[in-house]
């Protein structure tokens, strides 16, 4: 499903004359199979988000190779990436990233709109998903009229609506209380089981890591395969 080989990435910082590079990822290797839930842990600033950004195509690697769904995506153009993301990925962001001027319903519907799905079909699918996620009652609310947990659920629904192959989640429960967190984790688990969606999650949270099949740790820019503090799969 996801295959990463010898990935290197460093940030370029500073203005003219005082340029320098900050190496973040050094020779990262990673393999994730279909239907797996993999959690990534590591200290703050270790490069977890950077890895996810590379896999999502938001930034381009200095060297190395990324293969997703048997396609070499390392050197895709911006347009090709956009298409690929829409086709295969769902995203759950740490701070939800809902569009404030769209209602919950429209936010969930957005990926289908971007894909060019006909309106009727779009609305039907959104309706069903919102029901299953328990948000029908709030579908006409704007993001600022929803609680944090509700917003997070809307963003999860938005990640799911296109029935993607892979969902990338950066701290999906970061801003939730423990009870809501439990609900969200249960939802992820169900989706993984019922729809065979692959999850790649970044987390600081033991509870989250606990539902993962594997936990990977990034340390010093390197990936430590299947080792780490939270290594106690289900």
């Amino acid at each position: 499903m996801i295959n990463v080989e010898h990935l290197h990435y460093s940030y370029k910082i500073g203005k003219k004359g005082k340029k320098s590079t900050v190496p973040v990822l050094k020779d990262v290797n990673l393999e994730v199979g279909k239907g797996e839930i993999v959690s990534i842990v590591g200290r703050s600033g270790s490069g977890k988000s950077t890895l996810l950004n590379l896999l999502s195509g938001y930034i381009t690697a200095d060297s190395g190779k990324i293969t997703i769904n048997d396609r070499d995506v390392t050197n895709l153009s911006e347009k090709e990436w956009a298409k690929f993301r829409l086709e295969h990925f769902g995203f759950i962001f740490q701070n939800y990233e809902l569009i404030p001027s769209l209602t919950a319903f429209e936010n969930v519907e957005l990926p289908l709109t971007l894909k060019g799905v006909p309106r009727k079909q779009r609305e039907e699918r959104t309706q069903i998903l919102l029901e299953s996620i328990g948000l029908s009652a709030h579908e006409d609310h704007y993001p600022n009229e929803l609680s944090g947990g509700q917003q997070q659920r809307v963003s999860i629904a938005r990640a799911l609506i296109t029935e993607p192959d892979i969902i990338f989640a950066d701290e999906p429960t970061g801003s939730l209380d423990s009870e809501t967190e439990e609900d969200v984790l249960k939802l992820i688990k169900d989706l993984n089981k019922n729809r065979n969606i692959t999850f790649l999650m970044i987390t600081h949270d033991q509870e989250v890591a606990a539902i993962a099949d594997r936990t990977l740790k990034i340390h010093d820019g390197k990936m430590n395969q299947e080792r780490g503090v939270y290594f106690e799969a289900r």
Binding site: N53, S56, Y58, I59, E78, K79, A82, K83, F84, R85, L86, E87, F89, F91, F93, N95, E97, L98, I99, P100, S101, L110, P111, T113, L114, K115, G116, P118, R119, R158
Partner: protein, 427 residues
């Protein structure tokens, strides 16, 4: 992303900031209507001038004079008529000869008028679109067509003294015939140099010419068929030549070609359209100048569009970041912003056109009134402002194009929004 959905987003975004969009559209409206009103003066004045010019002689008519060969003038000959008639696009050649001697028409030995005798070919007149107000073209020798005002100039006279009779009242006006001449038998006669009547014959009036285009012209012509032209001309003591030959074409745009062709044949020609060509060149330049000045107003409005769009992009950076992160095509995002600025341009020009029409109508109504009042003259009939469809299209084209151009940079900026920095900038 479907076009309807893109337009839906554009509409939603525009509604979100109504006041700002309204002000921008207002500026565009003002620029566009200024452009149209300004240029419409050029179109209006040109129209008035053309109308005025073509009332002297139809634009489809070309007057053909003889040839200048070795510095001697040769009149138009029978042969020349055939050459002219054979020229491409010439639909008719009308050979007229005027009788220069004093000519008269008398009716029922009671009314008399001095007239202008014209010998012509009715077949050719018919083909040249000679218009009758009543009756039809003569079919045989003793039938004639008379000018529109003949009945007015036919005045009562005393059979013995041959003097005109006046009304008994203090006005001392002549008594006109003043009723329909169609079908009447009249006597046409003319004199020679020594005032001897040399020709008299009776004719039946079968047609009455159309009213002349210009109000002050009094048409007292008598058109006689050319069956006896040689006799008539020799009786009048005139040489046998045509003194008014006109070639006619079907449409105005053929006039120039025919004029040139006839010139090449060596004829000395004159047509109103030739005269107007210089004027038209001037007006084309004049209108272009007015449109240019008007465009500056649209350009000023475009600064507003640029600002509005730049603000819109800045405001929506976060939203754009989210859409790109989810997989929105960058060119779709660009297109949505271009649509938005194009809509501003389009709305502006729609309102602009409407307002320009209003201003134009008002100007055409009030300016003559003001001129009449200040100059104490009456019946000023000039179109000051005329807005042809062409001008509407030009102005709309300019406004929308300028709007698109000013939206271009903001739209490109939107396309280049960096996903990560947009998302990092907290909502």
């Amino acid at each position: 992303m479907k076009l309807v959905d893109q337009l839906g987003f554009v509409k939603r975004n525009m509604k979100k900031n109504k006041l700002r969009i309204f002000m921008t559209v207002l500026a565009t409206t003002m620029g566009c209507s200024f452009l149209i009103v300004l240029a419409s003066i050029g179109f209006g004045l040109q129209n008035s001038l053309m109308e005025e010019a073509s009332s002297h002689q139809p634009l489809t008519q070309i007057t053909v004079n003889g040839k200048m060969i070795d510095e001697t003038y040769h009149e138009v000959t029978e042969e020349d008529l055939a050459t002219i008639g054979a020229t491409e696009n010439v639909s008719a050649v009308v050979p007229q000869s005027r009788i220069y001697s004093h000519s008269e028409v008398t009716l029922e030995d009671e009314f008399r008028a001095s007239v202008e005798g014209i010998i012509t070919n009715f077949e050719a007149e018919k083909n040249s679109n000679f218009r009758l107000s009543e009756g039809e073209f003569p079919e045989n020798e003793n039938e004639i067509i008379v000018g529109y005002h003949l009945h007015e100039v036919l005045n009562k006279f005393d059979r013995t003294t041959l003097e005109y009779i006046t009304t008994g009242d203090s006005n001392e006006e002549l008594v006109s015939y003043d009723s329909n001449l169609l079908g009447k038998i009249v006597t046409f006669s003319f004199m020679d140099d020594s005032s001897e009547t040399v020709f008299t014959d009776e004719y039946k009036i079968v047609g009455i010419a159309d009213e002349p285009a210009r109000d002050w012209v009094q048409d007292r012509s008598v058109y006689i068929g050319d069956e006896r032209r040689e006799d008539l001309l020799s009786l009048a003591g005139q040489e046998d030549f045509y003194n008014n030959v006109t070639a006619h074409v079907a449409s105005v745009d053929q006039t120039e070609g025919v004029t040139n062709a006839l010139k090449e044949e060596g004829f000395m020609v004159y047509s109103i359209s030739e005269e107007l060509r210089g004027i038209n060149v001037f007006f084309t330049a004049f209108k272009a100048g007015l449109i240019f000045v008007g465009t500056i107003a649209v350009l000023i409005a475009s600064i507003g569009i640029f600002n509005t769009m730049t603000m819109a992009v800045t405001e929506r950076t976060h939203e754009i970041g989210i859409m790109k992160a989810l997989g929105a095509n960058p060119s779709v995002i660009k297109r949505m912003f271009l649509f938005e600025s194009a809509s501003i341009g389009l709305l502006g020009s729609l309102f602009g056109v409407a307002i320009a029409y209003g201003v134009s109508i008002a100007a055409n109504f009030f300016i003559p009134l003001i001129l009449e009042a200040t100059t104490n003259s009456e019946g000023i009939d000039i179109t000051f402002s005329y807005i042809p469809l062409q001008l509407v299209l030009i102005a709309t084209g300019i406004s929308v194009t300028v709007a698109c151009i000013s939206g271009f940079r903001p739209a490109a900026k939107a396309t280049n929004v960096n996903v990560l920095s947009a998302l990092r900038r907290e909502a």
